[in-house]
């Protein structure tokens, strides 16, 4: 079910946040997103999201598919399939059509599944960050 080697190779239009890099603000991408660093604010993609075991996300997350192995503080709204691996720690609500949890995954929050699941309320603006304004 959970294959460590199943992580997709990043394609040319994928967005990758590597370990040691911090992102703050409204982070949106039309392509796949792979995160091993830190993200705070909001995180949204029309495609797939992969969160590595060292990643720390303090954000509300929207994606088509999500595979999570790191920490997420915020609500997850996944339109298709959400996978939580053994190292995943979620503090927030999850809404997904399909939810797969590996033994050891931690979920502290409400969960709604299936096609008719009520969408998780994702307030905006979120958490502590606002869109970045240019400094003079």
């Amino acid at each position: 079910m959970f294959k460590p080697a199943a992580r997709p190779e990043s394609a040319n239009n994928d967005t990758v946040i590597a370990a040691g890099v911090k992102v703050e603000g409204d982070f949106t991408s039309a392509g796949n997103i792979i995160i091993d660093g830190e993200v705070s604010g909001t995180l949204r993609t029309d495609m797939d999201l992969v969160v590595g075991p060292e990643a720390k996300i303090t954000a509300n997350v929207t994606a088509r598919n999500a595979r999570i192995a790191g920490e997420v503080h915020g609500n997850l709204s996944v339109s298709e399939r959400a996978e939580l691996s053994a190292t995943a720690k979620i503090s927030g609500d999850i809404q997904a059509r399909i939810l797969v949890m590996e033994a050891g995954a931690v979920l502290n929050g409400r969960c709604a599944m299936g096609a008719e699941a009520a969408p998780v309320h994702i307030p905006t603006p979120v958490l502590r960050n606002r869109p970045v304004k240019a400094e003079s």
């Binding site: 990043s10 040319n12 239009n13 994928d14 967005t15 990758v16 946040i17 590597a18 370990a19 040691g20 890099v21 911090k22 992102v23 703050e24 603000g25 409204d26 982070f27 949106t28 991408s29 392509g31 792979i34 091993d36 660093g37 604010g41 869109p131 970045v132 304004k133 240019a134 400094e135």
Partner: protein
């Protein structure tokens, strides 16, 4: 009609023979044209504008990378095709475009294989390959929506293609190969390397962007297509499909079809 923009350094006697041979070859190929010689007080954009008024459709930079950059700064505002005849060093941009040095470049011009490429812009100046910040604690304000903090002392690259320094160095590992026709720049932050690790420490950060601002608390040095500049703030954006350029078969980039 062709317009040839000669670098100021080409008035030196040592280039006389090469220039004569090139001009003869251009005449043989039927692509001779108007000649403008750059000088301290000559504005490249005004020369090209004057040429365009007289029917010029192709502007050729004759000289080294500095000549190409001067022409490239002016060309996107006109509906003309750019060509290159490399004479003198450095001529890395010509190598990137697959144009050989000297008289052989005339045949590439004559073959007229063109490609339409995006062009990057940093603080008002255009670049073709990449912008690199070799070192410095910089922050990237991306698309006016989010901020990326890079690890201190690490390099940051903003690629339209790939940095010239590594592209042309066979011993250097390629940093990144971006698509110069996708309407996007790619900001690349290489993976961290541990003190006791010589190899890659993991995956690199890659962000697809249309505009960003690079800033730091202190002025930082950045390298644009091989030339160094210094600033405390660099405004970067992409001009999609704004450069139509004549390329050779041996060009060092690939545009997806």
């Amino acid at each position: 009609m062709y317009q040839y923009v000669y670098d100021a350094a080409l008035s030196d006697k040592r280039h006389h023979l090469a220039l004569t041979a090139i001009e003869n070859r251009l005449t043989d190929l039927g692509i001779q044209g108007r000649i403008d010689r750059l000088s301290l007080f000559k504005n490249v954009a005004e020369s090209i504008e004057e040429g365009v008024r007289r029917g010029v459709t192709t502007v050729v930079a004759v000289g080294n990378d500095d000549t190409v950059k001067k022409v490239m700064d002016a060309v996107p505002q006109f509906a003309v095709t750019m060509g290159v005849i490399p004479i003198g060093k450095p001529s890395k941009i010509a190598r990137l475009l697959g144009v050989p040095e000297g008289i052989a470049a005339c045949d590439v011009l004559s073959a007229r294989l063109t490609q339409t490429l995006d062009i990057g812009r940093v603080n008002g100046h255009h670049f073709l390959a990449a912008l690199s910040v070799p070192a410095g604690a910089v922050t990237l304000d991306c698309e006016g929506q989010y901020r990326v903090t890079a690890p201190p002392r690490g390099p940051v690259h903003v690629c339209n293609m790939t940095p010239l320094e590594t592209l042309l160095d066979e011993d250097a590992a390629p940093i990144h190969q971006a698509d110069p026709s996708d309407g996007l720049l790619e900001a690349v932050i290489p993976a961290r390397r541990g003190i006791f690790r010589s190899g890659e420490g993991g995956s690199k950060t890659v962000l697809n962007l249309r505009r960003l601002t690079i800033r730091a608390e202190r002025p930082f040095t950045y390298v644009v297509d091989g030339r160094s500049h210094s600033a405390q703030r660099a405004e970067v954006d992409v001009l999609p499909g704004r450069l139509k350029v004549i390329v050779g078969r041996n060009r060092l980039f690939r545009v997806p079809t």
